[in-house]
């Protein structure tokens, strides 16, 4: 069959499905070629905000694209909180299911998607931790100090400059200050709980945690 003599028209449906219609000579027959451009390919080019709004409309492929982009960050954070692969997996799954059902609540003007997602992940994990009545053990094989030292891969993060300066700011803290941040932020402990865990006076915990945060802010702002 002689194709390509006449391209009569080219239809595109939702930028995904393309039709080319040829009129062949001399048979005067219409030949229709349908091509579906790999949706994933198209989705991969979208930014987080576009993907989130697609997810809000129930687009599963956009959702899975976001999963592929950020599951490793969510999983890392929940592993840091639980230090248990099963619990971390469950919390990662719950976090993404929340992304699926709450994507319409994401407001791009208030910040990027990853911090929003990680905030959900942190809350989800800490709620579970509280539910299980678990308290952090300080003598763990997984050294939180190590987590602070490791430099994340820049290419996987959206605001590279932001976290790079934060990484340096964290390095400027004393190990004691980093431990306080770990307990407060990643283990979800309150002032009183930290005081109990470390056997410190409550006032000392308050002062030092505040000092740690103030120093972090100062260093981060200067960088």
């Amino acid at each position: 069959m002689d194709l390509g003599e006449f391209i009569t028209c080219h239809l595109t449906i939702r930028q995904q499905i393309h039709f080319w219609i040829w009129k062949t000579e001399p048979l005067n027959k219409l030949v229709c070629i349908m091509m579906q451009i790999r949706y994933n390919g198209a989705v991969l080019n979208l930014d987080d905000t576009q993907l989130a709004s697609q997810v809000a409309q129930g687009d599963e492929r956009a959702f899975l694209t976001l999963y592929d982009r950020y599951a490793s960050h969510v999983y890392a954070l929940t592993m840091r909180i639980f230090r248990d692969a099963n619990l971390a997996e469950e919390a990662t799954q719950d976090t993404f299911l929340k992304l699926w059902s709450r994507a319409r609540l994401f407001r791009a003007e208030r910040g990027s998607l990853l911090p929003w997602l990680l905030t959900i992940a942190r809350r989800t994990a800490l709620d579970r931790l509280r539910l299980e009545g678990r308290r952090p053990t300080l003598s763990t094989a997984d050294d939180p100090e190590e987590l602070w030292q490791t430099i994340p891969d820049a290419s996987t993060l959206p605001d590279e400059a932001r976290w790079r300066s934060m990484h340096l700011a964290v390095q400027s803290l004393s190990p004691e200050h980093r431990q306080l941040l770990e307990l407060a932020y990643y283990q979800g402990l309150t002032h009183t709980e930290i005081a109990e865990t470390l056997n410190w006076p409550l006032g000392t915990v308050k002062t030092r945690l505040r000092a740690a945060m103030e120093q972090l802010r100062r260093e981060w702002g200067e960088l």
Partner: protein, 246 residues
């Protein structure tokens, strides 16, 4: 205490508030203070930006592949797949309709083409016959004889030097598929020799058939046509349609 001193107390707690590390009572107090104090809200926004960035500081860790599959299994499309209910989305419907229309267009154009091709072949053969007939008429040795029978009239062109004869008849009735017209060459003894079968053409008011004889046409005295079974017969068995003497 002055307003500034009160504010200082709350302000001290803002960093811990941004980390969700305040005890319940303190957190509640800060929360209500934030309602009325813009400068503490600004302070909190800065510490929130800090704590959000802290969340991204954990080095990424790839979760097991099974997790992605599990998650996919919880999406509506996977749920739908497990139940027999199938809902067409508007897009699928539009796509389906488009495909059906295109398919129908293709099929109908194909059928049209088939019909046209058939017609073309018929026309071509008739044109050929017509041209042959004109050529025969123009040939000096061609005899033109009248065909006359009930309701049927036509011409028999005989070219004895090249042993070609052509029958051109009008109003030849159409036969059903079990029957055919068969031409016979008649010799002086009345013996019939098969000269081929032909059918009337439904799309044309006249029928033409060409007879190429293996024997010398001068050995024959006429041509007859009978109706025979569709495969033809070795000797005439059916009704005579017409007979022409040379």
């Amino acid at each position: 205490m002055t307003q500034d001193q009160i504010d200082d107390i709350f302000r001290e707690n803002i960093p811990a508030y941004a980390l969700d590390a305040l005890d319940v009572e303190d957190a509640r107090a800060v929360k209500s203070h934030l309602q009325t104090c813009a400068s503490c809200r600004t302070e909190l926004a800065e510490y929130r930006a800090l704590s959000e960035t802290l969340l991204m500081m954990t080095p990424p860790k790839t979760p097991p592949a099974a997790l992605r599959r599990r998650l996919q299994g919880q999406l509506p499309s996977a749920q739908k797949r497990s139940s027999p209910r199938f809902v067409w989305s508007f897009n699928q419907l539009a796509l389906g309709l488009t495909l059906i229309i295109l398919l129908a267009l293709n099929v109908s154009s194909y059928l049209q083409i088939r019909a046209l091709q058939k017609q073309q072949v018929q026309l071509a053969s008739q044109l050929q016959n017509g041209q042959a007939a004109i050529a025969m008429l123009a040939y000096p040795d061609t005899e033109s004889l009248l065909i006359k029978a009930d309701n049927i009239s036509g011409t028999l062109l005989v070219d004895k030097s090249r042993n070609i004869a052509m029958i051109l008849v009008w109003n030849l009735p159409q036969l059903d598929s079990t029957q055919t017209y068969q031409a016979w060459l008649i010799d002086p003894q009345g013996k019939r020799t098969d000269a081929g079968i032909f059918r009337s053409q439904p799309s044309q008011p006249y029928t033409s058939a060409t007879i190429f004889s293996a024997n010398d046409l001068t050995n024959f005295v006429g041509i007859g046509v009978t109706i025979e079974p569709s495969a033809g017969s070795p000797q005439p068995t059916g009704q005579r349609v017409f007979k022409v003497d040379f």
